[in-house]
């Protein structure tokens, strides 16, 4: 059946099969910024494995630059087959119009249109024919998982646990999802007294200041902090510093969780200061290549091109298991073709990718 289909396709479109795919990714982050570099590197590793010609441009966290880069790409003579955008701070949706005009298919990575924007854009292919889909991590589940880990590890005591939640922001869909998952767990947990939801703007220093304020507040009440939920690793590290400044021992007096699988985060987990660091979503770059290859090859159609892939928490045990690999992984060791669509669908599990990485090394 599948062979037949391929044959049919080859008959209909021999050129498509023959030519490699061309994909342009506009990376919203800085070049050198670990997370976004990881996104690019997994993407590049996958592109190599799947015969995709990839171009990556960095927007340097500037939405104007991002728009300018997209415009430049769309108005160039050599149009890519696919344009991969990140709806960072919800500014990328505006580019759909432009891409539609030029007939370039767009895939949203990590951050798709927000719920509000969906009212305008509709589903992929619905209002914009060239919007083919979105690959997003399950931030909600990650936020909830982190919160659950805190609750499980919390000491048993009759008094409610003074708890601080340090948010990244309240606008980015990824952040919104993460926050939602956290609240879903903590608000329903009777043992937890959620004192504050503070926005640290992904900033370590701000997180440190906010945490210090929270500690002073608690001190006035003759209380000590119990749990701190941080939206990512830098925020968690800022909180750890503030705790240490105030004479607390993170991991013992106070339990913290982070996210990002950042080397520093992983180190803190190893030192027991962090309960865990959730993440693995930088693999979305690779997942995008896999999915675009499948789409281009006709393995899936647009209806299947919108997925939410899981993230993975790394605790002390995991860190001990994966060791230094986690700090500087070489994703080229993995054959991303193995992640292509199967009749059971996709399995974009970060742990699978880690396991494959370990296998390749051995």
């Amino acid at each position: 059946m599948r062979v037949l289909a391929i044959c049919l396709l080859c008959l209909v479109s021999p050129v498509l099969l023959a030519a490699p795919l061309s994909v342009t990714f506009i990376n919203p982050g800085y070049q050198g910024e670990r997370f976004w570099d990881m996104v690019s590197s997994t993407m590049r590793a996958a592109a190599d494995d799947l015969d995709i010609r990839l171009a990556v441009h960095y927007a340097q966290r500037d939405r104007h630059v991002m728009q300018a880069l997209a415009t430049q790409v769309l108005e160039g003579e050599q149009l890519p087959d696919y344009l991969v955008l990140v709806n960072e701070e919800q500014y990328a949706v505006d580019l759909l119009e432009q891409a539609e005009a030029r007939g370039v298919d767009v895939l949203f990575l990590l951050n798709g249109p927000s719920a509000e924007q969906r009212l305008h854009t509709g589903a992929p292919g619905e209002r914009y024919r060239h919007w083919i889909g979105a690959i997003e991590p399950d931030n909600f589940a990650a936020g909830a998982r982190m919160a659950e880990a805190l609750v499980e590890a919390a000491p048993a005591q009759s008094d409610p646990l003074p708890t601080l939640a340090l948010l990244g922001d309240t606008l980015t869909p990824a952040s919104i999802g993460r926050n939602g998952g956290m609240l879903d767990v903590l608000l329903d947990e009777p043992r937890v007294r959620l004192d504050r939801l503070l926005t640290a703007h992904w900033n370590q220093e701000e997180a440190r200041t906010l945490t210090a304020g929270y500690l002073r507040w608690l001190e006035r009440r003759n209380e000590a902090p119990a749990l701190i939920w941080a939206a990512n690793d830098p925020i968690a590290i800022g909180a750890i510093e503030a705790l240490q400044d105030a004479g607390f021992t993170p991991g013992e007096d106070v339990l913290l969780v982070g996210l990002n699988w950042s080397p520093e985060g992983i180190r803190r987990v190893a030192r027991g200061e962090l309960l865990l660091t959730d993440g693995g979503h930088f693999l979305a770059g690779a997942w995008a290549m896999v999915m675009l290859r499948d789409l281009a090859d006709g393995v899936i159609d647009i209806a299947d091109a919108s997925i939410r892939f899981p993230m993975e928490a790394l605790d002390t045990h995991d860190v001990a298991t994966f060791g230094e690999r986690l700090v500087a992984p070489d994703w080229r060791d993995i054959d991303f073709a193995r992640f292509r669509h199967t009749p059971d669908g996709y399995d974009f599990s970060p742990r699978r990718a880690l396991d494959m990485l370990m296998e390749a090394r051995q």
């Binding site: 504050r196 503070l198 304020g213 929270y214 507040w217 006035r220 009440r221």
Partner: protein, 657 residues
């Protein structure tokens, strides 16, 4: 009279307190209203400030942003109405407290919960406590009251000033104009209509005043005209004639003028016989006849001076022409008048005077004409007499002065009673003098001119009527003196008073004498009343009745100046005299001229034949006294025996006589 407050003052007295009251009430009402409004506004503002403060503080408190909290607190404190700001956390622990300053009044504390709320959760973080001061409110109300008071006061002052000005221009000024006009009219100035454009009722009042004043002015003129008229005859009265004559003399100082003063004889009889109405009718008839006759010849309107006296004035006239007029008038009166279908005959005496020969003024002219009339009347009824200035008769202006002197003497104790003794004919000065009585005489002690003799002022007294009070004075003083003398032992002597025709006609003489005798407890037999022959000129019942009454009282009657006056002896038959006093003019040559001596002797004999006692006056020499004694005179009187003496001195002299 205390000066009444002016209209403006009254207005001020009422308006000023009222205006102040209104200003006060308005200010208070305004203050109350403002207070209410400010309270509501302030309350709303406080609520809002508290709400906003709490809501703004939520985020920094949530985020432990102390700097932002501090800034917000300072911002809140910057509000003028906020005295202090305090922030508490949810455990009610004071986080922060700031104060605006000291000395703030009317503090009020309010507190609001600081609640943080976002899409995910809602938490109460603490409280914001604000203390509000009402100082600004009080100040604002104070200023507002001040400005309201100021504004109302300005309005009041403006209205007040305008009203005063309006009042002054349109009410007070017209009223003052009326007042000025009234004062001017009172001081004799003619009425001037007021010109004013005063509005409304004041204007109406002015118009009414004008028309009333015009009427009043006419009425005044009418009254003035009537005051110069005699109501009975319609002729000028004395006052009117005087005014006309004065005016004429002033207008024509060079033109000769003659006046005739007419006096109807026996007019009293008409009144008594036919009644007052008949008398009035007769006077009207006489007036009409006089007017008909004189008419165009008069230069001034005919006038009625007194009850039965008329006066007429002729211009450019001399004495003979005036005499002709007088005679014509007398002749004309001979035609009888009809009173109640009876024919009444009327005669009149006339006195004449000429300007400028006899007097230079209207007053003087009237006076001398009257004097001439009375002189003529004394001599003969129905006579015309032109005034003759003589040694006795003073110029008119002196007579007027004398009359004034007489008045003054009467009123200011300037009269002196003089007494001249009357002695028995056999008296010898230095040897034996028997005092029979005294004659009471009067002098005026003039402050400048010394002692004035009766010859000088009696004619004036008679003409002016002052003879009546003068006679009364002499009689009272004489009686008092006699009473005094009686107490000193002179209890048989008599006192003689001179009585003029006028005193007799005036009436009351008998009653006055009787009262005086009783008061001084004197016998009537010691009183002698001397009258001149002229009193008997008219067969007047009044004279007869008076004489009878005096006799009945017990007094004696003497004929004074016998032989000089009306030379008819017939009255000696009818009238009840007791004494005859032979005038001094018969005595002067009595001791040298046999004819005179014979005449005096015959007169004495005639007196005795008629049963009268005879006194000879004017004895100045011993020979005269001897001759008279030889001729049978009973009493003598004259300087030979004694000059008239002041009353006090006389008593002392007579006691030692």
């Amino acid at each position: 009279m205390s000066r009444r407050p002016s209209l403006n003052q009254l207005f001020m007295l009422r308006l000023v307190p009222l205006a102040l009251l209104v200003a006060m009430a308005v200010s208070l009402a305004n203050a109350w209203h403002l207070h209410k409004r400010f309270e509501v506004e302030l309350d709303r503002k406080e609520t809002e400030l508290l709400r906003i403060g709490a809501s703004l503080l939520a985020a920094p408190l949530w985020n432990f942003d102390n700097q932002a909290v501090n800034e917000l607190v300072e911002t809140l404190l910057a509000d003028a109405d906020v005295a202090s700001v305090s922030v508490y956390d949810d455990a009610d622990t004071l986080l922060l407290s700031r104060f605006a300053g000291d000395d703030l009044q009317g503090l009020q504390q309010r507190r609001a919960a600081i609640i943080f709320e976002n899409a995910l959760l809602r938490r109460q973080l603490g409280y914001l406590e604000l203390t509000f001061t009402r100082q600004r409110l009080s100040e604002q109300i104070g200023w507002s009251v001040f400005f309201t008071l100021l504004a109302v006061s300005l309005v009041v002052v403006a209205v007040f000033a305008w009203t005063m000005r309006f009042n002054r221009l349109h009410v007070v000024a017209p009223l003052n104009a009326i007042l000025d006009t009234l004062r001017a009219m009172r001081s004799g100035q003619p009425f001037m209509p007021l010109v004013s454009h005063a509005p409304g009722e004041v204007g109406d009042a002015l118009q009414a005043y004008n028309s009333l004043a015009v009427q009043l002015d006419h009425a005044h003129q009418e009254i003035a005209a009537q005051s110069q008229r005699d109501a009975l005859t319609g002729l000028l009265n004395r006052h009117g004639f005087y005014a006309h004559l004065s005016g004429w003399l002033e207008m024509h100082p060079q033109r000769p003028l003659g006046i005739l003063h007419m006096d109807i004889n026996h007019f009293r009889w008409i009144n008594e016989s036919f009644g007052q109405d008949a008398g009035s009718q007769l006077l009207r008839d006489i007036a009409r006849r006089l007017e008909d006759q004189l008419g165009a010849q008069l230069c001034l309107p005919l006038a009625r001076l007194g009850s039965d006296e008329f006066v007429a004035a002729f211009a450019d006239i001399d004495a003979p022409a005036l005499a002709r007029h007088a005679r014509t008038l007398q002749r004309n009166m001979l035609e009888p008048f009809e009173v109640f279908d009876q024919q009444v005959f009327v005669s009149m005496n006339l006195g004449g005077a000429l300007f400028p020969q006899h007097a230079a003024t209207a007053e003087g002219l009237l006076k001398v004409a009257e004097l001439a009339l009375h002189r003529g009347k004394e001599r003969s009824p129905g006579e015309y007499r032109l005034y003759r200035p003589s040694t006795v008769h003073l110029p008119a202006h002196e007579m007027i002065a004398l009359e004034r002197d007489l008045h003054r003497a009467l009123n200011e104790d300037g009269l002196r009673l003089m007494l001249q003794p009357i002695v028995t004919a056999d008296s010898q000065p230095g040897a034996r003098v028997t005092l029979a009585g005294v004659e009471a005489l009067v002098r005026i002690e003039h402050p400048e001119r010394g002692v004035l003799s009766p010859d000088t002022f009696i004619p004036v007294a008679e003409a002016s009527g002052l003879i009546l009070p003068l006679g009364a004075w002499v009689m009272e003083q004489g009686l008092a003196w006699l009473a005094d003398a009686t107490r000193q032992g002179l209890d048989t002597q008599t006192i003689a008073f001179n009585v003029s025709a006028r005193e007799i006609h005036a009436g009351g003489l008998v009653e006055r004498l009787a009262a005086g005798l009783e008061r001084h407890d004197l016998a009537a037999q010691r009183i002698i009343l001397e009258v001149t022959e002229n009193v008997m000129l008219e067969h007047d019942s009044v004279v007869r009745e008076t004489f009878d009454a005096l006799r009945a009282l017990g007094c004696k009657l003497a004929i004074d100046d016998f032989g000089t006056g009306f030379s008819s002896l017939s009255y000696l038959q009818h009238l009840p005299f007791d004494i005859v006093k032979i005038d001094r003019c018969f005595v002067g040559e009595v001791h040298t001229a046999p004819r005179q001596a014979a005449l005096v002797a015959a007169m004495i004999e005639m007196g005795h034949a008629l049963g009268l006692s005879v006194t000879v006056e004017g004895i100045e020499l011993h020979e005269q006294a001897s001759r008279c004694l030889a001729s049978g005179a009973d009493h003598l009187q004259g300087y030979y025996f004694c000059r008239p003496l002041p009353a006090a001195e006389a008593l002392a002299r007579f006691i030692t006589l």
